[in-house]
Point group: C2
Chain length 346, copies 2
Amino acid sequence: MSKFTEAICYKSFGSVLNSLYLEPNCSVYHHSYKNGKDWVRIGFRATPINPSDINQIEGVYPVKPNTFPAVGGNEGVAQVLEIGQQVKDIKVGDFVIPRLSGFGTWRRETICDPACLFRVHKSIGLINAATVSVNLCSAYRMLHDYISLSQGSFYFTVRQDDVVIQNAANSGVGKAIIQICKHKKIKNINVIRKRETTEESNALMNHLKQLGSSMTVFEDDLINNVNKVQEQIMEHFKVLPILGLNAVGGENSTNIFRLLNKNGAMVTYGAMSKKPIKLPTGPFIFDNKKCFGFWMSQWYSDSQNNSKRSEMMNDICSMIEKRALSTLDYKLYSYKDYQRANPRLY
Amino acid sequence: MSKFTEAICYKSFGSVLNSLYLEPNCSVYHHSYKNGKDWVRIGFRATPINPSDINQIEGVYPVKPNTFPAVGGNEGVAQVLEIGQQVKDIKVGDFVIPRLSGFGTWRRETICDPACLFRVHKSIGLINAATVSVNLCSAYRMLHDYISLSQGSFYFTVRQDDVVIQNAANSGVGKAIIQICKHKKIKNINVIRKRETTEESNALMNHLKQLGSSMTVFEDDLINNVNKVQEQIMEHFKVLPILGLNAVGGENSTNIFRLLNKNGAMVTYGAMSKKPIKLPTGPFIFDNKKCFGFWMSQWYSDSQNNSKRSEMMNDICSMIEKRALSTLDYKLYSYKDYQRANPRLY
């Protein structure tokens, strides 16, 4: 087979402004495809831009392309256009997403080994399918893997006293966390930065409340008066949070760690403030608190998680079908508008 | 029964200088003993002074006495002097240690519920028995519970590439860690502070080497040139440490965290620098590193650990009997010399 397609590529690491270009004649062979193996031809229908996609082009992300020029993009949904004779479990017309990071999803078509793909329910729609594997799955795993959250239905007995706290609550992952918490009946405290006007702040708080937020806290209050925030939490929930999700770092994360209950865990998945995590020793030792890092790409690359992945995807698709969970804010751009699509380029 | 004994007590929280006194007529009933229950009369033979015993008297330690005046001391070995009719598993003459913190061990005698006591092998000798439950057991658990150390015989397959790094290596716990590592064939890197003279520093390094240290690193070098330390470690061991044990905090712990291999864990059990732990976010997220706190008292108070405790004690006693492990530096004082015995009092 010899076929060419449109793709957004980069020839070397660098700023997206200088490095990215639209390649009209990109070879459709995915680097993981080898002759003799079974094959699937897929056509991408929607692929998002994540901050990590940009970091990857800049060369500062641990996932790096095998060769240059490389096709950008790690996530996206494709439809199966054609399959080799031996291919089972995948049919023409199916929705598929890449199994691992580094696939290069910003292209119209590619041919690859079916083992590189993961089938998703068509019923969840193109946009959710395109964005399910990073933000929605990150939210799901962090709520699932570090603390046995007892209130939700994560295989545990329902109790009335589990609370989660997160910062960057207005991010894609943040909003997914709120929605999953609401669906699983987990109480959630959401730390956001104050907006420019009170009206804008109130509007954001209301938006998060509608998604399922039990309480919103401004970052300034968390940093300047953690004791008062603690009082408010105790008044509201009668118990401190058992799980903290941190994508910010700095003083914000220090105080999230402080606010955790005994035996609580803080999971870090981002560092928006670019400041390190500073933690007091006492809570580690005497309150048996724990700190973990989470990286969705790492989780996917661990083959031990394969069966958990299908289970998670079924659970997430079922939430999407029930309209309990969805990718919220997006704008659609065509490939030729790739420069407008990237918020760092205009 | 009505009986009185000599004890070192305190009437309220405060400095050891003002609060501690020698009580010649302390009632022998331990607060956990209740009438009607079975009883054991024990005579303490040796009880150590730990920094946490002092913090407890100052009121800044989470273990607090139920009533005042309180008897000081959390650890020590006693001999069984007399037993109630129903008492099984404990015989007159046995060596016993308190099962939990807060027992009040700085007294000649007490009567208590046999459930408060844990029997130890007589063969390990008075001094090791008196100090086994804090320092030696802390070292054992931290090496055991956070990483599946594969080189030693901790129920895992022997491999040639596991390395542990610790600071405060010259402390009681630190030296126990070195000895256990040597016995279990775990390579160990020991961070110490430079002494006043080169001779003293060399003497300390030699002392640790004799105990089983594979490599010694000065704190200054760790803080000022972590890259060079990393090169030395790679040259020496071909691999970075998988477990870091931290009793210091501050920059020292930041760099121990940095030096850990992928999937590594840092366990914090002390904060000698009184500085918080500052951790870069990248290693958390991309290297899947983890941070835990460890507190021996907490571990003992969790009844799930009861069976592990006997197993640990058998293993430790066997190491002591083989002369692979021991409490190293000590001075003996009589009760009447309690002021001289306390390093903060003279």
